[in-house]
């Protein structure tokens, strides 16, 4: 369901179904078939088998062992969305959308959306694994566009949960706050481009660790690339001892949580950086076998239209010492930037760029004026190494949208982090 401004744009109910078959014959490559016509299943198995045989390999593909699993993994629906009338869903979204529009007459446009889904996934393989999984999901998102003369600013709110109807009630205030911020940004100056000490808020720190580091820890990036493997050698120092990073697909109740991945491997908490040292990476069965490591349950596909590839689940920067708060991070900064929220982020391997939703200058150890167009750019290795303080105020940030890789978007993931300080980072803006 989607609103644009005051108008309901769409309200639809869809049903999608299909299948995916992968065949790996000894000495051959993957043969793959995806299809929407389930009647065709036997024919598709045959096609996938033929395709596998058409790909000859000198060096065979091996898969790391995973003990056969049999389970019904049924996640809690928390208010089954299928029982809620469309009109009720419209009312809920209308409330959040109206909360944004009511902030000011400078809010010229909004985009709000509500989406829920219950997927039922059956997975079987020829080694004896047989799984049934029920995965609920609900996402409410809103964008408020503020305009004054030619200036346009926006504020975003997004809540994405692997739960149901009960979990998305009562968020009016959060939508009001982002609309108010969009209005405030109209009058805010652009940040002056330069290198500063930078504090990332929980949300941006989470997006940062996912985008800038998480993707490099996906083993399909290194497993067939000796130079990349060297760059990502386990034991290499990536940061100061305060830095601990991991990915936990088994964490309770998060959007990136799954009992089993899409190859039938149980998910787990995988440490990636421990006290600044690279200690692990994320695997599918194929990448684990190739590198002689253990599968981590990170092979995921967004739907039956795609093969499982190595993906993150719930990626986090672990909290620093209890009691270290935001104020401890900024008290000795004369001039810096507090970068908050995330409009987006992109990495090209060791280079990254993140657009913060908004920011504040830090002056003489205190948060000062609101600034806009805060774009954080840099080199991953330098930036990770410049993380010198991590607060104890960890939160998971459960947004909608998701991660994109190899044409598969959006994959539900979660990011979590406390406030993080980077000694020095490049902030774009007016240059």
């Amino acid at each position: 369901m989607a609103f644009r401004g005051r108008r309901l744009e769409t309200a639809t109910v869809s049903e999608d179904q299909g299948g995916f078959v992968r065949v790996l014959n000894p000495g051959h490559g993957w043969g793959i078939a995806s299809f929407t016509s389930l009647d065709e299943l036997p024919a598709m198995v045959k096609r996938a088998n033929e395709l596998s045989n058409a790909v000859r390999l000198d060096e065979p593909i091996r898969l790391a062992d995973v003990a056969p699993q049999t389970a019904d993994a049924v996640l809690e629906l928390d208010g089954d969305v299928r029982g809620v009338p469309l009109a009720e869903k419209k009312k809920l979204l209308d409330r959040y959308n109206s909360a944004m529009l009511a902030v000011s007459n400078k809010i010229v446009d909004t985009q709000s959306s509500y989406r829920d889904e219950v997927s039922e996934v059956w997975y079987v393989n020829s080694e004896g694994t047989s799984l049934y999984q029920r995965r609920p999901e609900v996402v409410v998102s809103g964008t408020a566009i503020a305009r004054r003369n030619g200036d346009i600013e926006k504020g975003l709110e997004s809540i994405g949960l692997r739960k149901g109807w009960n979990s998305v009630q009562g968020f009016e205030e959060r939508f009001r706050v982002v609309a108010q911020r969009a209005v405030d940004l109209l009058a805010a100056p652009r940040v002056r481009g330069a290198s500063y000490p930078v504090i990332l808020d929980n949300e941006l720190a989470g997006v940062f660790i996912h985008e800038a580091f998480g993707h490099l820890s996906e083993a399909d990036f290194v497993y067939e690339n000796p130079q990349a493997r060297e760059m990502m050698t386990l034991g290499r120092r990536f940061g100061k001892p305060v830095l601990n990073v991991g990915d936990n697909g088994a964490a309770k109740g998060l959007r990136g949580t799954l009992p089993y991945d899409d190859e039938g491997t149980p998910t787990q908490d995988t440490p990636l950086i421990k006290e600044g040292i690279l200690v692990g990476r994320l695997h599918s069965r194929e990448t684990a076998a190739k590198l002689g490591e253990r599968p981590t349950g990170n092979a995921r596909a967004i739907s039956f239209r795609h093969p499982p590839i190595v993906r993150m689940t719930n990626t986090y920067i672990a909290p620093g010492k209890k009691g270290i708060g935001f104020n401890d991070l900024i008290s000795d900064i004369k001039l810096g930037v507090y970068a908050c929220g995330a409009f987006g982020g992109q990495t090209m391997l060791e280079n990254f760029s993140f657009t913060a939703g908004w920011g504040y200058m830090i002056r003489d150890g205190k948060v000062a004026e609101l600034v806009k167009d805060v774009v954080l750019a840099g080199n991953l290795f330098q930036t990770l190494d410049r993380i010198d303080h991590i607060a104890g105020d960890f939160t998971w940030n459960q947004m909608g949208g998701g991660c994109g890789k190899g044409g598969q978007f959006p994959l539900p993931v979660t990011e979590g982090a406390p406030h993080v300080r980077i000694e020095e980072a490049l902030i774009g803006g007016d240059v």
């Binding site: 639809t12 490559g29 995806s34 929407t36 016509s37 010229v108 987006g344 090209m348 993140f354």
Partner: protein, 442 residues
């Protein structure tokens, strides 16, 4: 299928239109120089829109044998919540649709072995020590049928082929990635593949030496690939949707010359041999070209049926729909032209625009394009792939630099149009030389 569905809709609602599409894809992928997988995908789906008591509703399904009654009931339920819209489905076109080649037998009939041969040719030609080569070849055959209760019908078959090649070179902590693609409706010739190889080779060779980036407001050549940050704001602002919503800075400026007088931008669904071309749009509106920017002046905005109805204008034939959502505005082939449009054989880096640059950049890829407040025109991105130009020559690759500017301001004065015009996905453009782009280095 469409006829039965529309028949069923006629009995229950005031009007309807529908799209049926069946797609078959065959893909082969080469990872790190070796053939890794071969796959097919088959998908068919039906999208229905209804008008009931002046309200619009939508439903879609991928079921193999969809029940027309059930789909109509679902669309009608969706319409009960919808806002009213004064939308009329187009009547059958008095002229026959413009015939354009969208279907190529040899693309449709290319064997798996032929797709593998093309991929292997690229892998072999691109192989270099210390470099990883990933290649994919994907072929698609799609059948589309559209129809509405006003009696309009359209049907066409289309082929598409996408060949991508990416070379990754890691030296210490320096990661260099160079990408290129061939996208067309017809199979690439070996000469086309050779052009792709040369394009990657040229950029790789010039990138081996790393030099310090310049600093300040300087001339920058945006290659067809690097141009996205500059074109994206225009594409958003020229959409009838953002105009209607009041968020387009170009709203109310039709006919005003806001850009360099040599610049023209068209949306042209009738370009022969392109996979985005089509004789009719997804809402039964016959295809025609739209002048978005004509000799520097703001031309037409693009519309689908609903946005046009709300804006009290006509659809430009830019309706696009998938199986599940409602139709929306989409560009087909976007062509950016200017200068004499001259294209030389295998282009040089910079499209012949660097001779007079004392100090500046060639930008081939920026990181984070599409993030942030795109429609405002302001952009600020670190470079993904960029080269320094000094005294008219490329001196090496720059890292750790960011470029910033405002697309609307920069396009007011274009320093030159390159001789390297080409397709990249569904956009055709040459390189552009733009002056006074802010460059910051770390």
């Amino acid at each position: 299928m469409i006829d039965r569905l529309l028949e069923s809709a006629r009995a229950r609602v005031d009007g309807a239109d529908a799209l049926w599409r069946r797609e078959e894809q065959t893909a082969v992928t080469f990872e790190s120089g070796r053939l890794k997988s071969a796959g097919i995908s088959e998908e068919a789906g039906l999208n229905l829109r209804v008008l009931a008591k002046g309200r619009m509703g939508v439903a879609g399904t991928t079921a193999a044998k969809p029940d027309p009654k059930e789909l109509v009931a679902r669309a009608a339920a969706s319409a009960e919540l919808g806002e009213s819209v004064d939308l009329a489905f187009p009547a059958p076109s008095p002229q026959s649709l413009t015939p354009i080649p969208t279907f190529f037998d040899r693309t449709a009939n290319a064997s798996l072995a032929e797709l593998i041969r093309m991929g292997r040719l690229l892998v072999e030609r691109l192989a270099r020590p210390e470099c990883q080569v990933n290649v994919s070849v994907q072929r698609e055959v799609a059948d589309t049928a559209v129809g509405n209760t006003a009696g309009a019908r359209g049907e066409y078959r289309a082929t598409g082929i996408g060949v991508t090649a990416e070379i990754t070179r890691i030296a210490g902590d320096d990661v260099l990635m160079i990408y290129d693609q061939y996208v067309g409706a017809d199979l690439p010739s070996d000469a086309d593949l050779e052009t792709l190889v040369r394009s990657i080779e040229t950029r790789l060779t010039a990138a081996l030496k790393i030099v310090t980036p310049p600093d300040g407001a300087l001339p920058v050549v945006f290659t067809p690939a690097g141009l996205a940050a500059v074109v994206l704001p225009l594409e958003q602002a020229l959409s009838g949707k953002t105009v209607l919503q009041g968020s387009s800075p170009l709203a109310g400026k039709v006919g005003e010359t806001l850009f360099d007088a040599r610049l023209s931008i068209f949306d042209d669904p009738l370009t022969p041999g392109r996979p985005s071309s089509r004789p009719i749009d997804d809402e039964c509106v016959p295809s025609r070209a739209t002048g978005l920017v004509e000799r520097g002046a703001v031309g037409r905005f693009v519309y689908d049926l609903e946005t046009a109805a709300r804006a009290k204008t006509q659809s430009t034939g830019n309706g696009r729909r998938g199986v599940f959502g409602k139709p929306h505005i989409g560009y087909t082939n976007v062509l950016l032209r200017g200068g004499d449009g001259h294209v030389t054989g295998v282009p040089l880096l910079g499209g012949g625009l660097i001779a007079d640059i004392q100090d500046g950049l060639i930008v081939d890829d920026l990181i984070g394009v599409g993030q942030g407040n795109v429609i405002s025109g302001a952009f600020s991105h670190p470079v993904g792939l960029a080269y320094r130009v000094q005294r008219g020559e490329v001196t090496g690759r720059v890292k750790d630099a960011a470029v910033a500017g405002n697309a609307y301001d920069l396009l007011k004065r274009i320093g030159g149009f390159g001789n390297d015009g080409r397709w990249l996905g569904s956009r055709w453009s040459p390189s552009l030389l733009l002056d006074g782009v802010s460059i910051a280095r770390r």
